[in-house]
């Protein structure tokens, strides 16, 4: 029942995303076709684009045209490359998926130990030191962190490539380490702050006190009793922050010259290639909806209490 209810909740959000992306064209000041094609465009070319989007028709006809395209998994033909946005986007998905996945892994691998250590050593030096992480980290622009990491690890030490994605699988992973680390550092501050609080709550719970009083080793208490109960909050937290993480990869891809969705979007913006911008935006938003849905369902499967609320 919970699964069904949660799925139904996602439907209006998906519809809303479609409507928002459709209306983005209307936000362009003046005649969008003329604005996108630039001052050198012939009147015929502008009229052709107006016809394609049905700009001379009533708004609901335009929306219907847009929906018809979307039904084919497309937001139209790129104004710049003359191929369908679907083809363009599909070719860029692997890089971004790999980047987001590796960045999520990194962020958990960094944030969970830090938060746990801070919680266990509450109000002592390690805790105070780790509590500085969100303070300093929140104000660091991702692209700048990327540049500093390139300066340190690629230029000075020569450990990693300056950018690019290579040809083999090993080169892909190798090339993704710095960009994934950069993206991960963007959400680590948020994760550490919430996880530390959550961890403290678990550490003070009765079942932990019971486990300790039974004389179980502290490491076992931590890894079995505490870790298990901290899993669901961590997962939910990652689900909430994944949207922010994905947004950060857009800029990180540009810094590390990775050909993913983010750099596709930024190139499309400099080419004023509106259908591609629309396509990437909608893909990102839908991905967020799906990921949030999946994390919610996994959390519910792990913790039966969620289904009742």
């Amino acid at each position: 029942m919970y699964v069904l209810r949660r799925l139904l909740q996602a439907i209006p959000v998906v519809l809303g995303i479609v409507v928002v992306v459709f209306f983005m064209l209307r936000l362009i000041p003046g005649d969008p076709a003329a604005a996108l094609l630039g001052t050198h465009a012939t009147p015929e070319a502008i009229q052709a684009l107006r016809d394609r989007w049905g700009l001379d028709e009533p708004i609901w006809v335009q929306f219907w045209l847009f929906l018809q395209q979307l039904a084919q998994g497309d937001t139209g033909t790129s104004l710049f490359y003359d191929v369908s946005t679907r083809t363009l986007i599909a070719s860029r998905i692997p890089v971004t998926v790999a980047l987001v996945a590796l960045a999520s892994v990194f962020s958990v691998l960094i944030a969970v130990p830090l938060a746990t250590y801070a919680a266990v050593r509450k109000d002592r030096l390690p805790d105070h030191a780790i509590r500085m992480v969100p303070l300093v980290g929140l104000g660091m622009p991702s692209f700048w962190v990327g540049l500093v990491l390139i300066l340190l690890f690629s230029v000075q030490l020569g450990w990693f490539p300056v950018g690019g994605w290579g040809d083999t699988f090993a080169e892909h992973v190798y090339g993704l380490i710095l960009p994934a680390l950069t993206s991960a550092l963007g959400i680590v501050p948020l994760l550490v702050r919430s996880l530390r609080a959550g961890m403290l709550e678990v550490l003070e719970a009765d079942y932990v006190a019971v486990a300790r009083s039974k004389g179980i080793r502290e490491s076992r208490v931590l890894f079995v009793h505490v870790a298990r109960n901290a899993f669901v909050p961590t997962l939910t937290l990652l689900g909430i922050n994944i949207a922010f993480l994905m947004g950060a990869t857009v800029v990180v891809e540009r810094v590390f010259q990775l050909n993913g969705l983010g750099s596709l979007m930024l190139t499309a913006i400099s080419n004023r290639d509106f259908p591609v911008v629309q396509g990437v935006t909608i893909i990102f938003a839908l991905a967020v909806v799906v990921i949030t849905l999946v994390t919610d369902l996994v959390a519910a499967a792990t913790d039966p209490r969620i289904k009742l609320s």
Binding site: G16, M265, A285
Partner: protein, 297 residues
Amino acid sequence: MSAPELATTGSSEQAVALEGFVVRSHPTLRKALRNRSLLTGGAIVGTLVLIAILAPWIARYDPLQQDLAATLQLPSWVHWLGTDELGRDVWSRLVWAARFDLATGFFVVLFPFAFGTLIGTLAGYYGGWIDTVLSRIIDVVMAFPYYVLIITLVFVVGKGIRGIFIAFALADWVTYARTVRSTTLVARRMDWAAAARSGGLSDRRIIVHHILPNTITQAIVYAMSDVVYVILAVVTLGYLGLGIQAPQPDWGSMIFDGQLFMTTRWWLSTIPGLCVVVTGIGLSLVGDGLADVLRPE
């Protein structure tokens, strides 16, 4: 009951005495003056704001003045942080960039703060279909990754300062709305809210005089982090060439310009970034401090 009378009828001497009395007795103010986060953060932000305001006197050179005979100079007494690829004084550009970026950050959050608080209050107070509709709209806006939405909106409405204001007005109110909605839901169920309702007060009066004073502190605390997020986004837009437009100095575009000379002039890119980090630390400290001070006992 005697304190207000004293204030209206008392002489200036009494007023001074009263001021001391207020500081000593006003619990929030006393807490604020003792809060280390708030004081440190306030000092950092205050210094930055002062630098931004005094930019014309602190900058030493015109930030736009090019000198193609003196490009990429090393730091010296003449140019404290050297010059950039067009021979412009880096220190002066850094100081003026503080003025543009901080001003943008502080002014941009005003509309989302006000609008988001209003929407959140309406959704939380009235509930029912108003809440359902507003909450779904919030869900939709939140589904877009923050940077994707901001970058796309700025592209659509036009780059530069005007585009930045419109983009954040459309995208940034949702977190305020969501926060205030949940605190309003709690406040509405409190006994004093029920008492105000049964006393026959109008909804508007209950919201303005009873609900908002209890819910707005959360929004104010979030606004401090939000200024950080907005400055980060503005700097990112500047880096991508969509933000504050050249030749006007901005930390983001300075980082972008310096990138080409990273191996020989590393400070051109790293120092503007450090300015952003320091701003972030200052504002986060103020936010943490305010959260402590304003939290009800």
